[in-house]
């Protein structure tokens, strides 16, 4: 299983499934990261965390620990 956490800047991936539960998971989905959504990994923050992804045409910043919940292909 590969997750958003392992992706490198410049990668374009699609969401397979969201793992985890509770508020964080709901928040991730509310922001538009749902099954099948295309994600473009824009960059990693200067200190290595969080990462910036482009989703549904806007920029979103996601913690690596939360990105681990997002299974992608």
């Amino acid at each position: 299983m590969q997750t958003l956490k392992e992706m490198k800047p410049g990668d374009t991936v699609h969401v397979v499934k969201l793992h985890g539960q509770g508020p964080t998971r709901r928040r991730i989905m509310d922001m538009g990261i749902t099954k099948g959504t295309e994600l473009f990994v824009r960059k990693v923050a200067p200190l290595g965390d969080p990462i910036e992804v482009n989703v549904r045409g806007y920029e979103l910043s996601v913690h690596k620990s939360d990105a681990e919940m997002i299974e992608v292909i």
């Binding site: 509770g22 508020p23 709901r26 099954k35 200067p46 045409g57 920029e59 910043s61």
Partner: protein, 715 residues
């Protein structure tokens, strides 16, 4: 009859600008009851019958974040006459996600399609008529910045409110899901008198506890609903909450194709270009440092600082008191009345207003950073470091500003979204030595340590250590436990800050400080003035014979374990509550000097005779960390909203100061062979406790955020 219109929309959708357009200057800014979420309302420009209620910027109506719960409760319980849903046209998909939820509430909805100018500029087109047909509610194109379309929007909203025809909920869900929700709706219809059944049915399907709790259902009905949900979940291999979210987005993506026509596939915008430099791996930190330097320089060192000095020293130091004194003398009023007016009232008002220039410049800088989109990047850049000890990346600004003055520092925490992070920042900001604590450092360094250069850096180190230790420890207590707010944050597109918005925000924050923080500062200054000017039989006396001195004598034994149980040190510490630089002045007076220099050089030799280096260092540590001055306490009260949280903050700061000073003095004494007292044992136990708190596993309540939200729902 008046009409209430609620303004709902995503953060960064231009809601504030539209709200300002609609209401002009007739705004009221406060907090929602019991929480530090800003509540703004105003009356419509040109029609005072219409009340516009601004809701917090939200992405969804989930029951998890405070902003969302506040908005949801308001819409469900207060039932405004209409909702204006402001939608950022340049970010249509995600904005419409909230729209699909608002449409289910059974209220008239008007969609304001904002930022059409941005869309047009990029060459994309949006078919508003088609969008209106899809949503089943009026869609008005506006540009809040240019004031375009606002009149039509107001007209549409008033008509919608008067017609009282609720937005007909679209059936957005497909197949199995729609079927289940329909069946739940039928069960609810048979068992409850609810009006907006559709919304409740969806919430029941999502297993939204805070809604279900308020709707009593017979056991049999509840069981039938549960089995419907489970069947659907099994069929789709997902939990019901995710199913609903997925369905909403699927619905939007499916239907948006004929409405939004993208011109080009290239998605590199000007904003992306700016961002590739500003948050570049190499350049981000230097640029950040430069921006912070400019903010600090403008608000603390140059303009803001100079104006504050002028207000403090010239206006309220000489001009006003001088003028008032002359006036009072010519009137021949009693001496105590003169003192009350000059020292008590004018001094108190001066203490409040003195900080204002600094604060206004700072607020202006912050508003520009927020409006341009850079503030979100600060969190992006700094988050890694600050997250480690329970703060937010945005905590950097309050702490940096706090090195100049804690009052604007605390007020700067406003920009932090998560309530927990904000409270933690408010509590820890004043640990960093502010400008007014420098004289105390200079006094101790000069009098005791032969002006050693290490005292200054060590003081800052102690401040930083206190912030980090507090962050790590407090995060593990019940008050701050729970997941840090999920850091899934939008990085809004950069744009030029708008003068009007920036000025309004500066004015709002400035006046909020004067109103809310002002009262407590005024009262506290008057109280200390009274205590330090009168004795027990209400005669006016000098400070060393005053009630304050008696209190100092009374509490001095409390400080004995810290090595400075001498009443003078206790009184000096108390007067530090008015302003920290008073500590030095008070020492001067108590040691018989008429007046001392800022670093108290006149009393260095006397102090050296009275205090051992260890005791003096313990005194320094206590004064650096303990409760800040009243102005800062006022700011804490303003940011914490409740008296309870203000008390927690002050109590924590003072306890930490006491414990730190105790550990330093007692263990220092024991290790340097200065003697071993039972207090050393207590100090060792406290030190062990701190180490235990630093190492222990985090407190783990199951879903504290959800619980807070639930408590709020029950209000």
């Amino acid at each position: 009859m008046s009409i209430v219109i609620a303004l709902a929309g995503n953060p960064n959708s231009g809601k504030t600008t539209l709200f300002n357009d609609l209401t002009g200057s007739s705004q009221y800014v406060g907090n929602w009851p019991g929480v530090t979420v800003e509540k703004k309302e105003g009356r419509l420009k040109g029609n005072k019958e219409v009340v516009v209620q601004d809701l917090p910027g939200i992405y969804s109506l989930s029951p998890y974040t405070l902003e969302e719960v506040v908005s949801r409760n308001y819409l469900i319980n207060e039932r405004p006459d209409a909702i204006i849903n402001i939608v950022d046209a340049s970010n249509l998909e995600r904005n419409l996600y909230l729209t699909t939820q608002l449409m289910e509430l059974g209220l008239p909805v008007v969609v304001a399609l904002n930022m059409m100018d941005v869309v047009e500029k990029s060459g994309d087109t949006i078919n508003a008529a088609k969008l209106s047909a899809l949503l089943g509610c009026p869609v008005i194109e506006v540009s809040a910045v240019k004031g375009r379309g606002v009149k039509e929007l107001v007209q549409a909203a008033i008509e919608a409110a008067q017609s009282k025809t609720a937005c007909e909920p679209r059936h957005l869900f497909e197949g199995k899901v729609e079927e289940s929700i329909d069946q739940i709706e039928a069960i609810l219809r048979d068992n409850t008198p609810l009006s907006n059944l559709r919304w409740h049915a969806v919430k029941f399907f999502e297993r939204d506890q805070s809604v279900a709790e308020n709707v009593p259902l017979p056991n049999e009905a509840a069981a039938r609903i549960e089995s419907l949900i489970t069947a659907c979940e099994d069929a789709l291999d997902d939990d019901s909450e995710s199913i609903v979210t997925n369905e909403r987005y699927t619905y939007i993506t499916k239907h948006i194709k004929g409405i939004l026509n993208k011109k080009s596939s290239s998605n590199i915008t000007t904003s992306d270009k700016i961002d590739s430099i500003v948050t570049n791996r190499v350049l981000a930190l230097p640029i950040f440092a430069a921006v912070m330097f400019v903010v600090y320089y403008l608000s603390i060192s140059s303009i803001g600082g100079m104006m504050t000095d002028w207000v403090n020293d010239a206006l309220f130091g000489e001009f006003v008191p001088g003028y008032a004194e002359a006036a009072l003398e010519s009137l021949g009023t009693a001496e105590w009345l003169n003192a009350l007016i000059l020292d008590g009232i004018i001094g108190g008002v001066g203490a409040v207003l003195g900080f204002l220039p600094q604060m206004l410049v700072l607020f202006l800088c912050l508003a520009i950073l927020e409006d341009s989109g850079y503030m979100a990047r600060i969190a992006f850049i700094m988050d890694r470091i600050f997250r480690k000890f329970g703060l937010s990346g945005k905590s950097f600004i309050p702490i940096l500003i706090g090195t100049g003055c804690g009052v604007p520092g605390i007020m700067a925490s406003r920009t932090i979204e998560s309530e927990n992070d904000r409270r933690m920042t408010v509590i820890t900001t004043t640990f960093i030595p502010c400008g007014a604590k420098l004289p105390i450092i200079a006094l101790i360094a000069g009098a005791i340590f032969d002006e050693a250069v290490w005292v200054g850096p060590v003081s800052y180190f102690i401040g930083v250590a206190a912030i980090i230790l507090s962050g790590v420890m407090l995060k593990k207590t019940r008050f701050f436990a729970g997941d840090p707010a999920p850091f899934v944050m939008e990085l809004p597109a950069y744009h030029m800050p708008r003068l009007k918005g920036v000025l309004l925000s500066t004015y709002e924050r400035g006046s909020a400080f004067v109103k809310k923080a002002g009262t407590i500062i005024l009262l506290a200054c008057a109280l200390i003035w009274f205590l330090s000017s009168f004795n027990g039989s209400f005669e006016m006396v000098d400070a060393e014979e005053s009630l304050l001195a008696s209190i100092g004598n009374l509490v001095a034994p409390l400080f004995a374990p810290l090595g400075w149980g001498n009443w003078k040190a206790a009184v000096a510490t108390f007067t530090g509550l008015v302003a920290k630089e008073n500590v030095v002045g008070t020492f001067g007076i108590l040691y018989g000097m008429e007046e001392v220099a800022e670093d108290g050089v006149e009393i260095w030799s006397t102090l050296r005779a009275d205090y051992t280096p260890l005791a003096a260092f313990s005194f320094l540590v206590f004064n650096l960390l303990c409760a800040p001055c009243f102005a800062a306490i006022g700011a804490i009260r303003r940011e914490m909203v409740t008296a309870k949280w203000t008390f927690i903050a002050i109590a924590y700061q003072t306890s930490l100061a006491y414990v730190a000073a105790l550990i330093i003095y007692q263990l220092g004494l024991a290790f340097t062979g200065g003697g071993f007292t039972p207090w050393a044992v207590i100090a060792a136990i406290l030190l062990a406790f701190i180490i235990y708190m630093l190492l222990k596993a985090p407190y783990d309540p199951s879903n504290l955020k959800g619980r807070q939200a639930k408590e709020l729902c029950q209000h």
